[in-house]
């Protein structure tokens, strides 16, 4: 019974969202507002159950983790944002978060976005047993990365053999990349659409297996 009612409710809201394809209407607007309320409420419930209760409230109530009062009070300072006279106090928790996030993120970004990417670009152009399309691919990948980087380098005018030609090749590589990404995104959205149609025709109406 639980599942049957669930599928009918799910089908109703699926159709409510698709009704927007015709035009904006009260049923769509209801679904749109509901999803905002539910996701914020869900986020609140999960954050309390997974973070606030086990990490702050339970240890504090157990009576031997009084040091946790510091993050608790810092967190509460966020609320001063609603009181204009003392709203500047909200900068303290924001500052704590910013400092931690920037400091922890710095070496990780250096590793993931810079060093690993450079390492990934350093591949042999040719090795015995490599197919021709792999060799071509590696050449395209290395020169393409360099050319696209030149395109994004704005400290020098894009003129001359290195910067001029490099940036011209770079824009071609970037266009191929954007096209591929766009095609990939379209296919992702289409598979979601197929999933919803399968839900309506299969789970709800039982017209397909």
């Amino acid at each position: 019974m639980y599942d049957i009612i669930g599928i009918w409710v799910g089908a109703f809201f699926t159709l409510a969202i698709y009704s927007f394809l015709y035009k904006e209407n009260p049923i769509y607007r209801l679904a749109e507002h509901l999803v905002v309320g539910i996701s914020a409420g869900y986020g609140m419930a999960i954050t309390y159950q997974i973070t606030v209760k086990p990490r702050l409230i339970d240890p504090l109530l157990s009576g031997d983790h009084w040091i946790l009062l510091i993050p608790g009070i810092l967190g509460l300072l966020y609320i001063t944002r609603f009181i204009p006279r003392i709203s500047w106090l909200s900068r303290y928790p924001i500052g704590f978060y910013m400092g931690t996030a920037m400091g922890v993120g710095f070496p990780l970004t250096m590793k993931a976005n810079v060093l690993r990417q450079l390492e990934g670009a350093m591949v042999p152009l040719y090795q015995s047993g490599m197919a021709w399309y792999e060799v071509t691919g590696n050449i395209v990948m290395i020169l393409g990365t360099l050319a696209a980087l030149i395109y994004f380098f704005f400290s020098k005018p894009h003129k001359g053999l290195f910067f001029g030609t490099g940036s011209k090749i770079g824009i071609w590589v970037i266009m191929v990349g954007f096209g591929a990404t766009f095609g990939f995104t379209v296919m992702g959205r289409i598979s979601l659409l197929i999933g919803r149609i399968q839900y309506l025709l299969g789970d709800w109406l039982h017209l397909i297996e």
Partner: protein
């Protein structure tokens, strides 16, 4: 107090967190553990700000009977109803599918279908966007169009029917030129993040302070 102390909190925290990565001493690891334990607690309170703003906007709309004010109830009721339901059935959060409850029902049969359908709705709009973007007006637009068409056809059965070369070329585009463009962008983003991080840590970038209390 209003600006200097927050800037110092950022600087001290930022430098300590950066240094602990390179100095794996017991003291630095303890400081790191405190910071990483406390941060989720502090960040969790930021949700109160979001919920407070949402409540203020929608209760204001209801009070003023603004246009479409009735829908504000559809935001406020689940906003406060969901945490209450989660409190009544806490096992539905940890138990998931095995512990059906009203909380679980609302999430699985209202939230999930609406979000999945909203994302799938983009398939229609992305198609019309593609039509506008892909008009082969120039050589560069033609390259964009060709890459997208080959990648798309390469992923569907009709692509394979047209010829084995199509999915293979699609894969080649994804693995090499696409990777080159993505890698250059990733490197650019990486350097951008590093520069911004340093600017924030050393107080050069202060926009995050906002205008609260000057």
């Amino acid at each position: 107090m209003k600006r200097t102390v927050p800037l110092m909190i950022v600087m001290v925290g930022g430098i300590l967190m950066m240094l602990q990565y390179f100095i794996p001493h017991q003291i630095s690891q303890t400081v790191f553990a405190y910071y990483t334990d406390w941060t989720p607690i502090i960040v969790a309170f930021a949700l109160v700000l979001g919920v407070g703003s949402l409540t203020r906007i929608h209760s204001h709309k209801i009070r003023r009977k603004a246009k479409n004010w009735q829908y504000s109830y559809a935001v406020l009721i689940p906003l406060f109803g969901m945490p209450i339901l989660a409190h009544l059935w806490p096992e539905s959060i940890s138990g998931g599918m095995d512990s059906p409850s009203i909380f679980h029902f609302i999430f699985m049969h209202i939230q999930v279908p609406i979000q999945a359908t909203m994302f799938s709705l983009l398939a229609f709009y992305i198609a019309s966007a593609a039509f506008r973007a892909f008009r082969a007006k120039s050589a560069l637009a033609t390259v964009l169009l060709l890459a997208a068409v080959v990648v798309m056809l390469g992923q569907v059965p009709i692509g394979e029917l047209l010829g084995r070369w199509l999915p293979e070329t699609g894969l080649w585009i994804l693995r090499y030129p696409n990777l080159a463009a993505k890698r250059a962008i990733m490197l650019g983003v990486g350097f951008g993040i590093l520069a911004t991080s340093l600017k924030i840590i050393f107080g050069v970038e202060r926009n995050w302070l906002g205008g609260a209390g000057k």
